[in-house]
Amino acid sequence: MELLLHQVLAGLATGGIYACLALALVMIYQAIDHLNFAQGEMAMFSTFIAWQLMELGTPYWVAFVTTLAISFVAGVLIDRVLFRPIHDAPILSHIVVFIALFGILNSLAGFIWDFNVKNFPTPFGSRPLLGSGLISSHDAGMIGVTILLLVFLYVFFRHTRIGLAMRAAAANPQSARLAGIRVGWMIALGWGMAAAIGAVAGMLIAPVVFLEPNMMTSVLLYGFAAAVVGGLTSPGGAVIGGFAVGIIENLAGTFIPYVGRELKLTIALFLIVAVLLVKPSGLFGRRVVSRV
């Protein structure tokens, strides 16, 4: 029983990271109708920036916030420079640019900071929380930060004017422009926010998976799984999907023989395939019906 509870809590902690990544994916998907393959590498690069800032002596939370700001600006620039010009281009052009971005960020990180594994600090400490054996304080901190972020995003999108403008721009760009909403900038803003959310995910998971240029590859796969499970059109679904994938991953790794640590990633892939076969729109997604 204790083991079960322990695994569920640990699953919630990593699930929060998947939820963040899935949310970042969904935001960009809503804005430009394409899945950002480079989301994980963007997060990894942000994490390296945070690490570099701390190496230079910046305190953790200052580095954290600075990294968010840098990532936000970088996200906006990526949209304006790379994706805005190919806005109307076919899907393959987008995929090629995503892969290019992936490759560039990955190699650039390796070039600047080399491929050796680095330690990334946690501000929460890694001892058990309050002396209980259930959850480590870093895991608890991860859950806390994730929930804070999700609440912030919820309030932003539900209760602010600019949040409504972003939702309108994603839902019906043509009509939004006729209402005077600058749709192009809303998309850029979405990219900036997605990059910042990814940075949070990267910095929180880095103490667990260690910092190196390929650290996000498997995390991104779980993020994909979360987004697909929840439905690519549903931010709330992506979050629930993230937590669900985190818990399932942990429980399956512990309780199903043969899965263990080595086959855990397979579960993410299995989930993606299963959901696509049974309910392609995801658990909470909308089927897109177009009238011709």
């Binding site: 004017r161 409504l164 309108a168 019906n172 043509q174 009509s175 422009r177 209402a179 005077g180 909403i181």
Partner: protein, 237 residues
């Protein structure tokens, strides 16, 4: 007196296909102009051209200012509200959010809230359904919402694209009654595109008739009403 909206020699293109050929059209300050024509004549295209939604040549002036070639978002900010074909409803958002979206080009929380009440005054049905998802509204209610969204801009000119389309006659009458009030009391100028010619001729002061992208006839509504061709082709008696 120069007109509020002045169109001279307007040509418009979808890709390489030209759909408007040198159109001239005026909307007087405080006036109502209607654009008649068969399906595919270029009525919707004309409205889209004014809103900056497609590539055009020729001259479009609003209150004396050249607006051809500007971005949609900038044209909206001059006070041109477009209630588009298909109504442009944000189906997943609530009625109230749809109205807020209509005011995105403006600032001033209090003024926007006051205008929301004004719209609810015109359309009490929308107030009843303010927290409902707009996609669940009936066709008539969605058309009211489209007009309401346009009103939230506090427009000087409204571009109305077939507001009667698919609506029950009673609702159409109600809607046009409100257009009359808006035009009379709030001095909103209107450019109306309609399939229902008799309705449009009753409401508008000036009429332009186009066929395959070319102007074929223009004049005051009361004169064109008596015209033999118009009567036969568009009024059907």
């Amino acid at each position: 007196m120069s007109a509020l909206l002045e169109i001279r020699g307007l040509c418009a293109f979808y890709g390489r296909t030209q759909v408007l050929f040198g159109l001239d059209l005026d909307v007087a300050e405080g006036g109502v102009t209607t654009l008649l024509g068969a399906n595919g004549a270029g009525k919707t295209t004309t409205l889209r051209a004014v809103s900056g939604m497609l590539r055009t040549t020729g001259d479009i002036r609003f209150a004396g200012e050249r607006i051809a070639g500007r971005a949609i978002e900038d044209i909206v900010r001059l006070g041109i509200a477009h209630a588009p074909e298909g109504r442009g409803t944000f189906v997943r958002q609530t009625v109230e959010e749809n109205l807020q979206i209509g005011a995105m080009a403006r600032n001033g929380r209090a003024a926007i809230a006051a205008d929301m009440e004004r719209v609810y005054g015109y359309f009490p049905r929308l107030k009843e359904r303010r927290h409902q998802q707009a996609g669940t509204l009936s066709g008539g209610e969605q058309q009211m919402l489209a007009v309401g969204r346009a009103l939230m801009l506090r427009p000087r000119l409204m571009l109305l694209d077939e507001p009667s389309f698919g609506l029950a006659p009673l609702i159409v009458r109600e809607l046009f009654e409100i257009f009359r009030v808006l035009n009379r009391d709030e001095k909103v100028s209107m450019l109306l595109v309609e399939q229902n010619a008799s309705l449009a001729l009753d409401f508008a002061a000036d009429v332009y008739l186009i066929e395959t992208g070319r102007l074929v006839m223009t004049g005051p509504a009361h004169e064109l009403r008596r015209d033999e061709t118009i009567r036969r082709s568009y009024l059907g008696y």
